[in-house]
Each structure stands twice: as structure tokens, then as C-alpha cells.
Amino acid sequence: MSKTERDAAGAPAAKARKARTGKAQAAKEPVVEIPAEETPVAGGPVAAALVAESPLAQGPGVPAVREEADGPQGGRLAVRKTYKLYIGGAFPRSESGRSYVVTSSTGGFLANASKASRKDARDAVSAARKAFAGWSGATPYNRGQILYRIAEMLESRRAQFAAELAEAGTGRAGEAVDAAIDRLVWYAGWSDKIAAVAGSANPVAGPYFNISAPEPTGVVAVVAPDDPLLGLVSVVAPVIVTGNTCVVIASERAPLPSITLAEVLATSDLPGGVVNILTGSVKEVAPWLAAHMDVNAIDLTGVADEDVAVACEQAAAENLKRVLRPSAPDWSADPGTRRMTAFLETKTVWHPTGV
């Protein structure tokens, strides 16, 4: 379903829900979605539609439709995973207590993902800022090894990711996982080479030693594309390999692989806070990150709504964030160095020569 269709469908559904909850709230029936404190449009019709589609919205007692190999009939009930956020190396729930229903490509219930709030975004920025000195100060060799380790960890969970991606509707899921692993390996190798390619020794007309080298921009906000693993890896790896730290808003439609990827990151010696992953509404959270004064750059690649993208770019102007505008790249193509250099600053150092 396209976004507009969902919106159109969402409006009456939300109305219907309101009508129901009028009574329900009086009867203290638990309501799935806690209203956002920040803005009346929080969540918007999309979330409302998702809630309306959820089995829970139809009242308690409706069984989840997720197919599980070991269902009750198989003798053992599966222990499901709670999908939370990934902030500062830990897995907190959204401080707002909100969640939203994530469905499979066929509409079945998959999980309740955390619905990040403004406060979660700010906590994630704090964590990213805290991690910046250590990560940018690490040797490129060390960063490369850690990225390679992420690839190793991803490889070891290949089957799990392939299954999750298939559920999320990614075709050729196994190939997508392979490509994501290979991309990490590719970027891992860049850690100690990008400075040689992006830097320069400058032959100035005077008795000076003069050299330019790239340095990480700082904390980068990333709106990941709706390609839950390969797309995500393709936007995060180039940001962090050079020493930036980031706050990522995962694919809104298919956020689950991103949190599973967080488990991979958490076991790869990547310092906590280097990558922080939020799940929830792009429309709600991205503008907060775009306006955050301690964020140095924003990658809008995954922003599908043009108005949201323009609003984010405008908000980003307040502290002159570096902005990578929305795009829909072919994630299987050679990425080039552009995604790295977009979040690098060139520092030029002069010193006199002489005896």
C-alpha cells in the first residue's frame, strides 16, 4: 500500500478507533498508543492506521497471526524478542512508553516496535556526542577492524537476517544479507585509506609545510532508507568508518532488522553510542534531529515525504548542518566515496619550514 493510500485509509480508521475508545477509555481498557506529548500530529494517520490494522486494536483475545515454526501445536511456545531502541550501547524502551505494530509484507503481526519520542532522540544525540571523542580518536586501523568484526557477526547471523528480511518483504533476502556483509567489509577497508585519497600535500608558494587531511564532521543524524538491512548498512557504515558517530532512524515500515543489527553492533566491540538506532515515525522524529543544535550533519536519504525533507533541511540551516538530500540510490551499485566525504571536514595545517 502506498503512503497516500494508507493515509486515506487511516483517516476513517482513526475516526472509528476514536469512537470506540470513547467508551473503552471510560472502561479503562488499555490503549495501545499513548498520545505523544510533543505534538498533536505525532504518529499521524500512518501510526493510527497501523494500530487499527493490529490484532490488538480489535480487542483482546485475537491471536497473533505470525507464523511460528514452534507454535502451541508444535509443543513449545516460542520466546519472542522485545524490539527496543538502541541508545548508548543499551537497549531501552522508548521513554514515552509508546510502541507501534509492525506487520509483515502480507499484513501479519510481527512485533510491537518501540516508537521513539523527541526525548529518545535527544538521549541518542547525547550518547553519540559522548562517544565521539573516543571513536574519532581511535586509530583508523582499529575502526577498520571493528567494522570488519561487524561483518563477521552479521555473517554468523546470516540465516536469522534472511528470515527477518523475508518477513519484511525483501526479495532475494539471502543475497541482500550477503551484499550487506560485503559492504561492511568494503567500508572497513576504507578506514585507513580515505585520508590518503581525500587528503593532500599542498605545494604552497612559500617556506611552509602544508597538509590537508579529512576529519569526521561529528554527530550525524541518519534517516535510513526503506531497505532494512542493505540500505541501512550502506548509510551507516560510511558515516562511522571515518570516525563520526550517528543517530539513525530506521526504516519506519520494516524496523525490526535494524534492531537485530543493533545486537550485532553490540557484540562487535563497537563502543556504545557510536551508532544509536531509533524506530518510529520519521515524520515525527527527523525534524527534532534536524533542529538539534548538537547534531553536525544530517543524511536525509530515507525521507520519502518531500515536505518533511524540506522542513528538515530548513531546520538544519540553524546550525549549518551538512545536509545530504534525499535520494533513492541503487544499493547494489558501487557506492563510491561520496557517502564518506559528505560527512568529512578538511583540516589544513600550516607550519613554517626552516632551521
Binding site: 585519497v197 581525500a198 593532500s200 599542498n202 605545494p203 604552497v204 608558494a205 612559500g206 611552509y208 602544508n210 590537508s212 576529519e215 564532521t217 561529528g218 553536525n296 518531500e306 525533507a309 524540506v310 533541511e313 530548513q314 538544519a316 540551516a317 540553524e318 546550525n319 549549518l320 551538512r322 561520496r338 571536514e345 578538511t346 583540516k347 589544513t348 595545517v349 600550516w350 607550519h351 613554517p352
Partner: protein
């Protein structure tokens, strides 16, 4: 102090016309806006009347640039290079004339326009001329394409040098340009237009539209401009960044600064004092990368301040056309008001103000070299860009504290570090969040050396191989 006999440069070497038009499609033309006057800030004498480009005039300039783009970008790089080499040569041939005109219109000492600005202007064209037929080797792919029409808006502090920084790389990469010089310093840009004609540059490749902020906004916001390049205040930079949101325009911004100049206790003091003076009093402090925050290690603060004050007492302020003058005029009444206001705030906030005994000329816009000591990091004079000859002095005890204080700013354009210990230079330079770090020197520029900021000092680099990226579709 030595007495010097006046050594005035002759203003007869330049022929200033009573009025100037816009330069569009290779021709000078009247503007349809209300003309404005440009004055000599050292004397308040009106130099000339200059046309104001209206929206319609800017539109005409952009159309001319668009029309010229096809043939210009299709020229072999080696041919474009030859035009740029020609321009570089004509600038050298006419450098005295340009230097005098720059000093008259801007107020900077003739020694600086003659020895710093003009040589760098020529060098910049010469440097980028050489890139025009080598773009495939610059690291942006085998055959990088130009962007199209570049809209460029430049400031008044280095009028011709900023023009060179903008036009040379743009043309080398195959773009055409519409450039708006600053309202208070349009004259050298208009003389440059004449140089373009002498060089037989194809009409429309360079267009110059004069005017105030409104003209600049018309250039930046024009829908047929593919690239926006701006040098100026962070305040205007923000407005530009906001206004291009949602467009496909590529943007580079070179904005304000509040550079820390860090003096460690083992620095060579006499050299450091020269560097401090050059850092903040060069060009009356009208320099975005000026070393406006002096960070001195506490153990040497007393001695250093004494040396610095002694040195300041020897600076010669006055007639910019005098070849012995060190400090010229503040560029405009408006800028003088801002420097005065921030200095008064510095005093009101509790910092201690000091200037050498220094007679100011009666006419014109003048401000004495000024030092504030006892400055706290929260003071406005430690946070805001004064863009004048005003130095805020702070102290530190440890290298870590120096770096912490140096980085405690929204800006990140430049920084200085003075120490005789090599490893400390590199340690400090590594940690400074600034685009240019001068170690045991300050305010050095070269076309081969990339220049530009971190954080709110803007984005993009000018100069060097890096400067090409701003004008290529990559």
C-alpha cells in the same frame, strides 16, 4: 617610535569613472534599481555611483550565463585554461592600478592590497587555470561535469581576492557565473569586468551585478542558478541555507569565525607576538579567520601581554594610501558601529580594555587596535565575531584546557598554535575543530591550500584540489 615621512601611493594610476553600470553578457549596462554611492572609508569621499541590479537585471544576467554555459563548458579544458591564464597575466600587468583601487574603495593599507591581495588574486587564477584541462585527474571521476550557472555573493573584506576565489575555480570547471560584489566595495569587481573584456572572455561567462542584500538574494534564489557560493556572515549563511532547502542547488558557504590563537609557555615569544598582531590586526581584523581569541598559558601571560602592548604601540594607523601604514580604515560606518557596540559590551561585561595611544584621523571610519584582558568564555567579545581590530585575551593552564576553550565556540574556521615542541603542535592541531590550523604562523593563504570551516563557519572548501568539488557535479 620612529618618525616616518609620509610615503603616499599615487591615486593617479587608476581612473575612477563617475558612474558604473552592471556587466552582463560582456557589456556594461545600466541597472534598473536605484543607483548607490561607494565611498572611500578613509575619507568618506564619494568615489563613484554604481548601478543597482533589480530582480529583472539579475534575471538577464542569469540568462546570459545560461546562454554562455553550453559553449563554455564544451570548450576543451586547455582552451578554458588559456583564458584564465590570460586573466591572471592581465591582473599582474594591472596590479598596481587594482591595488590602489582596492585600497581606495576598501580602506585597507596599500601595503596589504599590493603585497597580499593582488599577488594572491593573480596566483589564484594561475592555479585554477592549470586545473582546467586536468579535471579528470582530480579524484572526481574520469570526466567530471560542471554544474551550470554559479550564483556567487562575496564580502567587502577582500573584494578582489574573494572574487578570484569564486570565479577562478568556477570557470576552470566549465561553469559560468553571476557574481555580486559587496555593496561597499564594488569597484575592483567592475575593473575585473574590463579585464574579462581585454582577455576576450566569451560574453556571458562572467556577469557582475552590483547592489545590496536584495540583489544578492535575487542571485541566490534565482531558479536557474545551479550552484550558490557565498562568503560572508554566519547570519546570512543561515538564511541562504534555509532558502535553498528543497532545491537541487549545490551550496558552499564560507562564514564567520572566532579563531583561538593558542600560545604555549615554550613558544618563541617575539615570533608569537608578531603572529598575534598579524592574526587580529591584519586588514583591520576584517578577516573571517582572524585570531580574535588569544589563549595564553598562564605562566607567560604577564610577559607576553607586555610584549604585545609594546608592539601595538608601534603600529601605524592612518592613511591607507601611505606605504608605511599598518592599520587602515574600518570599511563602513555600519561596521564601525558594530565594532564600537561589541567593544562597549566587552567593557560593560567586565573585561579590561586597552588601546595604545593612537590619534585617529578626523574624517573617515576608524577604530584603534584594542585588547581586552580578563575575558571570560561567556563574554560576548569571546563569543561573537567582532570583525574588527579587537582581541579578547583568555588564559589557560594545561594543553587540555587550551583545546577545550579553543573549541568552545559555534565557529570552526581557523586556529593558531604556538610552541617549540613538535609533538605538542600535532597533538593540539589534531584536537582543534577548525578547518585551517596555523602552527607557529598565522593568516597565511595560498591557492594550493584548501580553506573553509567546521561547524557554523560553513561548509565546502576553497582552494587546492578540494576547491574543485564545489563546482563539479559530483
Amino acid at each position: 617610535m620612529f618618525e616616518y615621512a609620509p610615503a603616499p601611493e599615487s591615486r593617479d594610476v587608476v581612473d575612477i569613472k563617475p558612474s558604473y553600470g552592471l556587466f552582463i553578457d560582456g557589456e556594461f549596462a545600466d541597472g534598473t534599481g536605484t543607483p548607490f554611492k561607494t565611498v572611500n572609508p578613509a575619507t568618506e569621499e564619494v568615489l563613484a555611483e554604481v548601478a543597482t541590479a533589480s530582480q529583472a537585471d539579475v534575471d538577464r544576467a542569469v540568462r546570459a550565463a545560461r546562454k554562455a554555459f553550453g559553449a563554455w563548458s564544451a570548450l576543451p579544458g586547455s582552451e578554458r585554461a588559456k583564458y584564465l591564464f590570460r586573466i591572471a597575466r592581465i591582473i599582474q600587468e594591472r596590479s598596481r592600478e587594482l591595488a590602489v583601487l582596492e585600497t581606495l574603495d576598501n580602506g585597507k593599507p596599500i601595503r596589504e592590497s599590493r603585497d597580499v591581495d593582488l599577488p594572491l588574486v593573480a596566483a589564484h587564477f594561475f592555479y585554477y587555470a592549470g586545473w582546467a584541462d586536468k579535471l579528470g585527474y582530480a579524484g572526481y571521476g574520469p570526466a567530471p561535469r560542471p554544474l551550470g550557472v554559479a550564483g556567487q555573493v562575496i564580502p567587502w573584506n577582500f573584494p578582489l581576492l574573494m572574487l578570484a576565489w569564486k570565479i577562478a575555480p568556477a570557470l576552470a570547471c566549465g561553469n559560468t557565473v553571476v557574481l555580486k560584489p559587496a555593496e561597499t566595495t564594488p569597484l575592483t569587481a567592475l575593473l575585473f569586468a574590463e579585464i574579462c573584456r581585454q582577455a576576450e572572455l566569451p560574453p556571458g561567462v562572467v556577469n557582475i551585478v552590483t547592489g545590496a542584500g536584495e540583489t544578492g538574494a535575487a542571485v541566490v534564489n534565482h531558479p536557474d542558478v545551479n550552484k550558490v557560493a557565498f562568503t560572508g556572515s554566519t547570519e546570512v549563511g543561515r538564511i541562504i541555507a534555509r532558502s535553498v532547502a528543497g532545491s537541487a542547488k549545490k551550496v558552499t558557504l564560507e562564514l564567520g569565525g572566532k579563531a583561538a590563537n593558542i600560545i604555549f609557555e615554550d613558544a618563541a615569544i617575539d615570533q608569537a607576538v608578531e603572529g598575534i598582531v598579524n592574526g587580529i590586526f591584519f586588514n583591520q581584523g576584517h578577516v573571517c579567520c582572524a585570531g580574535s581569541r588569544l589563549l595564553v598559558q598562564e605562566s607567560i601571560a604577564g610577559d607576553l601581554m607586555e610584549s604585545l602592548k609594546r608592539r601595538l604601540s608601534m603600529l601605524r594607523l592612518g592613511d591607507p594610501m601611505d606605504k608605511n601604514t599598518d592599520i587602515g580604515a574600518i570599511n563602513s560606518a555600519e561596521q564601525l558601529a558594530r565594532v564600537r557596540e561589541l567593544s562597549d559590551i566587552g567593557e560593560a561585561e567586565g573585561a579590561e580594555r586597552w588601546s595604545p595611544a593612537c590619534a585617529l584621523p578626523e574624517r573617515g571610519f576608524w577604530f584603534p587596535p584594542t585588547i581586552f584582558s580578563g575575558v571570560a568564555q561567556s563574554h560576548r567579545i569571546a563569543r561573537d565575531e567582532v570583525f574588527g581590530p579587537v582581541l579578547a585575551v583568555l588564559t589557560f593552564r594545561t594543553p587540555a584546557e587550551a583545546v577545550e576553550k579553543a573549541n568552545n565556540t559555534a565557529y570552526g574556521l581557523s586556529a593558531g598554535v604556538w610552541t617549540e615542541k613538535g609533538s605538542r603542535i600535532l597533538w593540539t592541531a589534531d584536537r582543534l575543530r577548525a578547518g585551517v590550523v596555523w602552527a607557529n604562523t598565522f593568516n597565511k593563504f595560498d591557492p594550493a591550500s584548501p580553506f573553509g570551516g567546521f561547524k557554523e563557519s560553513g561548509y565546502g572548501r576553497e582552494g587546492g584540489r578540494h576547491g574543485l568539488e564545489a563546482y563539479l557535479d559530483v
